[in-house]
């Protein structure tokens, strides 16, 4: 009995001991904080805060400009003056005068802006530091109307669901291919997913670079990539019951990977259009359709050796394509750069994880494995096709 209780005691002590570093840290932090800046003064004087705001979004409404601004620094910032094209203008804000760390406010400026012309909006802090946002062309920002909602939905449908569904129609043709050719197409799927993954990764890094230091950082991208990679691994092991996904399950994985990517694509289209950076022309939509039709082929290839019902095919098309609709809505009406970074990280991780899954499957089913001409050729062709059809978009 005695020995037993002392073992329990030691167990508790071990747990209590785990809190000691935290408690000591609190004590040290408290002691340091109470010295004020005296200790740091030994090092030298700190430079004044940059006082630059982070202008997140500029919206144009009839007779009005709305600016969403955030304080990205530790010290508070007061917005004292608003300017439009280098002219001081009256404004109102819906937040406090003094913006604390990472706090946002919406600045509303009554202004008779000129449609389709470049415009520069500036916010000046109480220390006179001016942050400006240059807008390439002022275009009225869509509001949440039923019409616009349907419009964005249609754009998402056209660039997402339709091409993927069309691509899936290659399934009957794929069925007739011999193992070598099918392996080639599986490798092609890998190639195009690798392309999408790299694209998303690049987008994520680019976006995070524009975020305030406290919110951004490559770590956020890594978090997204890790979330997706591990999440997809989990889904894959569930679907394949431990031995890696095959057939329809693998097709579903590919569809998820592509779907996450298409959500990002829709987000990008919606945002750029909403802030007047993008001409959403016919050619642009056609470009995306051509670009995305290969994604359908990618989903179909792993399922070529199985019977798939039309309902399931439609389900796959929706998983891969419908997120573009959701993305367009989100991008059109709201953006959150921090979430977007995480999101593109997730898209990259998902795509790259699916490359691994499909690659493993292709290695098993393709004669000659991944070193065969079909696999190598298919992989390179996948990248080349995505690059070539991407020319339509750019």
């Amino acid at each position: 009995m005695e020995a037993g209780s002392s073992a329990v005691g030691r167990g508790v002590a071990w747990r209590v001991w785990a809190f000691v570093p935290i408690l000591l840290l609190a004590v040290v932090v408290g002691a340091f904080a109470s010295t004020g800046d005296r200790l740091l003064d030994l090092v030298g004087q700190s430079p004044p805060p940059a006082d630059e705001l982070d202008i997140r979004r500029v919206e144009f409404r009839p007779g009005e400009i709305r600016v969403l601004a955030r304080n990205p620094q530790r010290e508070p910032i007061t917005i004292a003056v608003a300017t439009v094209d280098d002219a001081i203008v009256p404004f109102t804000t819906d937040g406090p005068d003094e913006l604390g760390r990472l706090r946002s406010t919406r600045v509303v400026i009554p202004y008779d802006w000129v449609a389709d012309e470049p415009i520069t909006v500036g916010l000046t802090s109480s220390t006179g530091i001016q942050t400006t946002a240059e807008i390439g062309a002022a275009v009225e920002t869509p509001t949440a109307s039923a019409r616009g909602f349907v419009g964005y939905g249609l754009v998402g449908l056209l660039v997402g669901v339709v091409p993927v569904a069309l691509g899936l129609l290659w399934l009957p043709s794929l069925r007739r291919l011999d193992a070598r050719w099918l392996g080639g197409f599986l490798a092609l799927t890998c190639g195009l997913l690798a392309f999408l993954g790299v694209e998303a990764l690049f987008e994520a890094f680019e976006l995070q670079a524009g975020l305030p230091g406290a919110l951004g950082g490559p770590g956020l991208v890594l978090l997204g990539v890790a979330l997706a990679t591990l999440g997809m691994t989990l889904v894959s092991s569930r679907l394949g019951r431990g031995s890696g996904a095959t057939g329809l399950a693998l097709a579903l994985l590919v569809a998820i990977g592509i779907g996450v990517h298409n959500l990002g694509e829709g987000l990008a289209i919606g945002t750029s259009f909403a802030v007047g950076e993008l001409q959403l022309g016919t050619f642009f939509v056609i470009g995306f359709m051509v670009h995305n039709v290969t994604e359908g082929l990618g989903i179909a290839a792993p399922a070529a050796r199985e019977r798939v019902s039309v309902t399931r095919l439609a389900g796959l098309a929706l998983v891969a394509g419908a997120p573009a609709i959701l993305g367009a809505w989100l991008g059109g009406y709201a953006t959150n750069d921090t979430l977007a970074v995480l999101f593109f990280g997730i898209a990259a991780g998902a795509a790259l994880q699916v490359v691994v899954e499909v690659g493993r499957y292709a290695a098993r089913t393709t004669p000659g494995g991944l070193r065969s001409g079909a696999a190598i050729g298919g992989f390179l062709a996948g990248i080349a096709v995505m690059w070539a059809t991407g020319l339509f978009v750019g």
């Binding site: 409404r61 009839p62 007779g63 009005e64 709305r66 007061t78 004292a80 003056v81 608003a82 300017t83 280098d86 002219a87 001081i88 203008v89 009256p90 404004f91 109102t92 804000t93 819906d94 005068d97 919406r106 509303v108 009554p110 202004y111 008779d112 000046t124 802090s125 109480s126 220390t127 006179g128 530091i129 001016q130 509001t143 949440a144 679907l239 399950a249 579903l252 569809a255 998820i256 779907g259 996450v260 959500l263 399931r312 389900g315 796959l316 929706l318 998983v319 419908a322 997120p323 959701l326 809505w329 989100l330 009406y333 709201a334 959150n336 979430l339």
Partner: protein, 340 residues
């Protein structure tokens, strides 16, 4: 299987979807109740279409609507010069000018870390009559070396160029006031651009032997402020504060002679200008000689100055501003309120 996945996707993004709706509610709430902080009175009740032009026009930039700092008499000492004294050769005029560093509020909520003569930008109006002897005791209470360089005719050791006054030091400048006209003074320590732009300058009137016709006399020093250090001005003013005379129009009488001593001490921009609405004035460059121009717009290079004489033909509100539209809209604009 696909159902499960879609649901997951939706779960992931559902919080995002709520953002626009919430944002919209917040916005509509604030504009409907006009609960927002009104930074420069604009008509919040103005509808978004037809009347929005009124809110962005000049009507919004007068009186309470003009974004200017301070009370109605804050700048009186800079606007109204001390009286002219009759000609009396050799009379001693003594004054003290102290250079200090201080933050000056130049536009509502915008604080400029300034170097000043006697605490204001521009510095005090210095006035003498021709052949007076000026004795200016200069005390440097700032953190940097400074001087005072007066324009005029004087010995070079009184020129404020070679004798740099170090921190906590002082120097007395003594020189005869000549020639008659309207001049300026400013710091001439290097880097010159920095020392002038920080606020070390002011107006310097030398009255002629034969006094000018009695008039309502005003001093206007045009300047600019580069608040973000990019070598371009962010604000423009007369007598140091944006839109000050738009908020507090200068009151004069119809038919009375109004004399404006106008100087340009703007840094970075090559020229500044003065344009009067709805009337004309005569302009005497540098306040010297017999050559007067009859116009409604004058242009001055950095350091140039002159004397304007106006006799308003009508009563009413007369706008004046730089004819560089950019300067106007960045603070250099005001009104004369002409009363019958």
């Amino acid at each position: 299987m696909p159902k499960f996945t879609r649901k997951k996707l939706l779960c992931l993004t559902a919080p995002l979807a709520a953002v626009p709706i919430a944002g919209k509610l917040v916005l509509e709430g604030s504009s409907a109740e006009a609960a927002g902080h009104d930074h420069a009175a604009h008509n919040t009740s103005a509808s978004h279409t037809s009347t929005s032009h009124a809110a962005v026009g000049h009507a919004a930039m007068i009186g309470e609507g003009a974004p200017a700092v301070g009370g109605p008499h804050d700048l009186d000492a800079l606007l109204y010069p001390p009286p002219a004294l009759p000609h009396e050769p050799g009379r001693l005029r003594e004054l003290t000018i102290v250079a200090t560093d201080r933050e000056v509020e130049i536009a509502p909520g915008v604080f400029f870390p300034a170097w000043t003569y006697n605490g204001t930008i521009p510095g005090p109006v210095v006035r003498a009559t021709e052949d007076d002897v000026l004795r200016v005791r200069f005390v440097n209470a700032g953190a940097h070396p400074h001087t005072i360089h007066f324009h005029g005719i004087h010995p070079t050791n009184m020129d404020g160029v070679f004798e740099i006054v170090e921190r906590d030091g002082e120097l007395t400048y003594e020189f005869p006031a000549r020639p008659a006209g309207f001049h300026v003074y400013h710091c001439h320590a290097t880097p010159l651009k920095k020392h002038i732009h920080k606020g070390l300058y002011g107006a310097f009137i030398i009255d002629p032997k034969e006094p000018r016709e009695p008039a309502r006399e005003l001093v206007m020093v045009m300047n600019g402020y580069d608040t973000d250090g990019d070598g371009e001005n962010n604000f423009y003013t007369v007598n140091g504060r944006t839109f000050y005379y738009a908020r507090y129009p200068i009151r004069v009488k119809q038919g009375e002679l109004v004399r404006v001593y106008l100087a340009n001490l703007t840094e970075f921009d090559l020229v500044n200008s003065f344009h009067l609405h709805a009337d004309f004035f005569r302009y005497q460059p540098t306040g010297t000689g017999d050559r007067w121009e009859y116009t409604d717009t004058v242009m001055q290079c950095q350091g140039q100055r002159g004397v304007l004489e106006i006799r308003f033909a009508h009563a009413g509100t007369f706008m004046f501003h730089a004819h560089q539209s950019e300067f106007t809209e960045l603070g250099w604009m005001g009104y004369f309120q002409v009363e019958e």
